[in-house]
Amino acid sequence: MDARGLADQLRPLLGDDAIITDHQRLRTYECDGLAQYKVTPALVVLAETTAHVAAVVRACAAAGLPFVARGSGTGLSGGALPHADGVLIVMSRMREVLEIDRANQRAVVEPGVINLQLTRAAQPQGYYYAPDPSSQQICSIGGNVAENSGGAHCLKYGFTTNHVTGLELVTPGGEVVQIGGKAIDAPGYDLLGAIVGSEGTLGIATKVTVRLTRTPEAVRTLLAAFPHTDQAGAAVSAIIGAGVIPAAIEMMDALAIEAAEAAVHCGYPGGAGAVLIVELDGPAAEVAHQFDEVEAFCRDNGAFEIRIAADDAERALFWKGRKSAFAAVGRISPDYIVQDGVIPRTALPEVLRRIAAISDEAGVRVANVFHAGDGNLHPLVLFDAAVPGESHRAEQVSGAIVDLCIEYGGSITGEHGVGSDKAKYMPRMFNHDDLDTMQLVRCAFDPSSISNPGKIFPTPRLCGEVPGRHKGAHPLADAGLAEVF
């Protein structure tokens, strides 16, 4: 049976409204936030309940068709890139905040709930959901679970995997399993730890139980402008070296500032080679003292202008520039590639210099936005696809930056995930045995290789005794867009 047949099978249960087979409509789902890769799915299903999801997955399992789950479709690694012969299961209609449980500091949500929506739901009770990706106004909790999303405040508060205590999971076989709950340390293997960040390859989460964090008593944010990223980096080292754990330290270089300014008119100090946004939160007395320290470190390391947010509105304005940075580069460049490498924080100044050198040599501009506190870089490689050769040069620069991160003992992806986009880099970071071992996990959950196959690992592992049709082909290879890596 192919996907069309599946549509007829699913219609009675899910309703006409939930099934999309029209070609033009299907095409609107052919990419997520990474628009460079497009594959039109054979069928799109908009699920509204766990039962729906389970039914679709079971049908796919029976038919041997691959499925891909999608939240808001804002991922930056092509994790929601569909399969041409598979089903795209869209979770955006499952968007109820089921419970805000203040006494237990937990929330239970459907996966389509938007990250910021959850925080807003908890705020009246003095709580919020800490992992705050820059796309939090649209990215879904389910998507956050799949990618183990971080955000600017993960330096202090951790990532999604540190905040998920329970999941309802539809396994690739179509069964509904409850894992964990509101209490921690459920006996047995830490399945949650494996599932969060598994990029949709181990099944689909249909309910998520998360920790809520107490809204801090005091929040203070400063914006510091430096002549050069070197000085900004030194300030960061001084802050961390003094034992201060800020809630967030973000850095943007001159090119990124230019883009952000054009987009949202954040009004960052003119002529800055780098700006730092440092945010401290916690008990008022602690914050007050540490803030003075931080300010001093910035000044001592060459900040020529320091602004301290006087109120929430000003704080939001400081952050606006940073949070819109990716989309904003669209204003200064027709096309761009966003990288997500991680390096040890202490290597920051040197790596930035190396990136500048790579950029100069290739004649390709690179704007830098990054989580300075934890060494997670987001180099934005700017190019114009219309100019012959630029696309290729941009790819090369991109790859060189990834290699740089690996060279310094970092990672190829800090928060965006591997997805389709970085699968080719996995063998640079891990050897065959490493990847093979990870794929044991995959085989445990998805022996038939139908749950978002072709993502993360460039070469799928055949799971034990399952011969025959090779369903794990990379979707780009399937669609004729790329060779097997």
């Binding site: 006494a103 237990n104 971080g150 951790g158 990532f159 995997t161 540190n162 396994t171 709950g181 209490a183 921690i184 340390d185 459920a186 006996p187 047995g188 293997y189 830490d190 949650l192 730890g193 494996a194 960040g197 598994s198 107490r214 801090p216 961390i240 070296g241 034992g243 754990i245 916690g282 008990p283 008022a284 007395a285 602690e286 003292h289 540490q290 991680v342 040890p344 202490t346 989580h371 003992g409 970092g410 990672s411 800090g414 995930g417 591997v418 970085k422 996995m426 970071m429 891990f430 045995d433 490493d434 990847l435 071992t437 990870m438 044991l440 996990v441 085989c443 445990a444 959950f445 993360i456």
Partner: protein, 414 residues
């Protein structure tokens, strides 16, 4: 045959393999050999030998928690990790450390303290770092700093078939591939042998104060905990000590910079009410297990607001079976340990545990038997009901298809 095996093990470890003695028994299950590799490569070689000869392998660090879990079905080889104890890399500026799994936690902390840093776990039984991971050991500071799983950023593991694999890395932010480290955390050595681990570190706090208050009414305990939890005190730890007789004590640990700690201490004294005191040192029960000589130790998890029902259920279960309990643990996290005494026989203990489990939904957690005397434990269901067990079996089958890593020790007979 045994001679050949010993030969092979000695070859794999450059001579560091011996026949086992009584002291090497694992939870009263006698072992036959002990191998002490000094590196990941040697560990891999040992595992290849084990694979070749179908040996059941139990990993041992300091052996502090070898009796946790169910008794293994068989133990042929004890793989001792204590020779893999080097601090491979301590990048103080990046607040990370890479360390051999055989290093004792205390020795690691000593090595880190010179830079004003520590690995933010303080469990009661401090053995090796590898054991810390394998047992998901937990202590009071978990409330603020998170459990071991959240501090582990990279791992080197040797599979049952001898293949060496790495996962994670040396940087805190890393989502490349599956988080195998988390899967290994708490796995009691049933998925692989951890030989090396990378952790994120925290700065040692400048100032610390413990604020304690005695509490008599059970309901008051819950109310106080809720007040603390929703306050702006941001305690590093909230521990309850509730002995069988006498008052319970609720104690907070506040850490930070001196003026901040001072201010928060005053707030805490105010919040905790009459009888609350502040001290520069921890109470003597702090971070210790409530072992009362009965040698039965349970781990109970609970929803934070489930504390009151848990205490009530515990008291009921003990009363019904003639046992007495001493509860101690991290009530703001939802993980406590309970020491039981007065277990006349296995039957009483089993009934008590069953009662607790039956009423566990009222406090929303699980009941696991950590320790019990051998004869009592043999008849107990150590683990209780486990969600997602089928998936766990599937994971085990992939990693250890021949069931040679601590067989029978884990949930569902894994």
């Amino acid at each position: 045959m045994g001679e050949i095996i010993l030969e092979n093990l000695r070859a794999a470890t450059e001579g560091h393999a011996v026949g086992a003695t009584e002291a090497d028994a694992v939870d009263s299950m006698p072992a036959r050999w002990v191998a002490l590799p000094v590196s990941t490569e040697q560990t891999a070689a040992v595992m290849r030998v084990a694979a070749h000869h179908d040996l059941a392998v139990v990993v041992r660090g300091s052996g502090t928690k070898l009796t946790w879990g169910a008794r293994p079905e068989r133990v042929d080889l004890v793989l001792d990790t204590t020779r893999m104890d080097t601090v491979v890399e301590h990048a103080a500026g990046d607040l990370i450390v890479v360390v051999g799994a055989g290093r004792r936690l205390d020795d690691l902390q000593a090595a880190l303290s010179g830079s004003g840093q520590w690995l933010a776990v303080d469990p009661p039984r401090r053995g090796t770092v590898g054991g810390l991971i394998a047992t998901a050991a937990t202590g009071p500071t978990r409330l603020l700093h998170g459990p071991v799983r959240d501090l582990l950023i990279g791992v080197t593991v040797v599979r049952a078939d001898g293949v060496v694999a790495r996962a994670g890395g040396k940087v805190v932010k890393n989502v490349a591939g599956y988080d195998v480290g988390k899967l290994l955390t708490g796995s009691l050595g049933t998925l692989g042998i951890i030989t090396q681990a990378a952790f994120r570190l925290h700065p040692l706090p400048e100032a610390r104060r413990w604020v304690s208050v005695p509490v008599t009414e059970p309901d008051r305990i819950h109310v106080l905990v809720q007040q603390v939890v929703h306050s702006q005190l941001v305690p590093t730890a909230v521990e309850l000590d509730r002995p069988a007789t006498g008052d319970a004590t609720l104690c907070l640990l506040l850490e930070g910079i001196p003026p901040g700690v001072q201010s928060r201490t005053a707030q805490a004294l105010d919040l905790m009410g009459a009888g609350a005191t502040a001290a520069d040192n921890a109470p003597d029960w702090w971070g210790m297990e409530p072992l009362v000589g009965g040698e039965v130790l349970l781990k109970l998890t609970h929803e934070i607001a489930g504390l009151a029902p848990l205490l009530s259920v515990l008291d009921d279960a003990c009363a019904a079976t003639g046992l007495t309990s001493h509860l101690r643990g991290s009530v703001a996290v939802g993980a406590v340990t309970v020491g039981l005494t007065g277990a006349a026989d296995a039957h009483a203990l089993a009934r008590c545990v069953a009662d607790l489990r039956e009423r566990a939904p009222s406090f929303g957690g699980a009941v696991v038997v950590l320790e019990a005397p051998g004869d009592l434990k043999a008849d107990l269901d150590v683990w209780g009901p486990v969600g997602g067990l089928q998936l766990m079996h599937a994971v085990k089958r992939q990693f250890d298809p021949e069931r040679r890593l601590s067989p029978g020790r884990f949930v569902g007979g894994i």
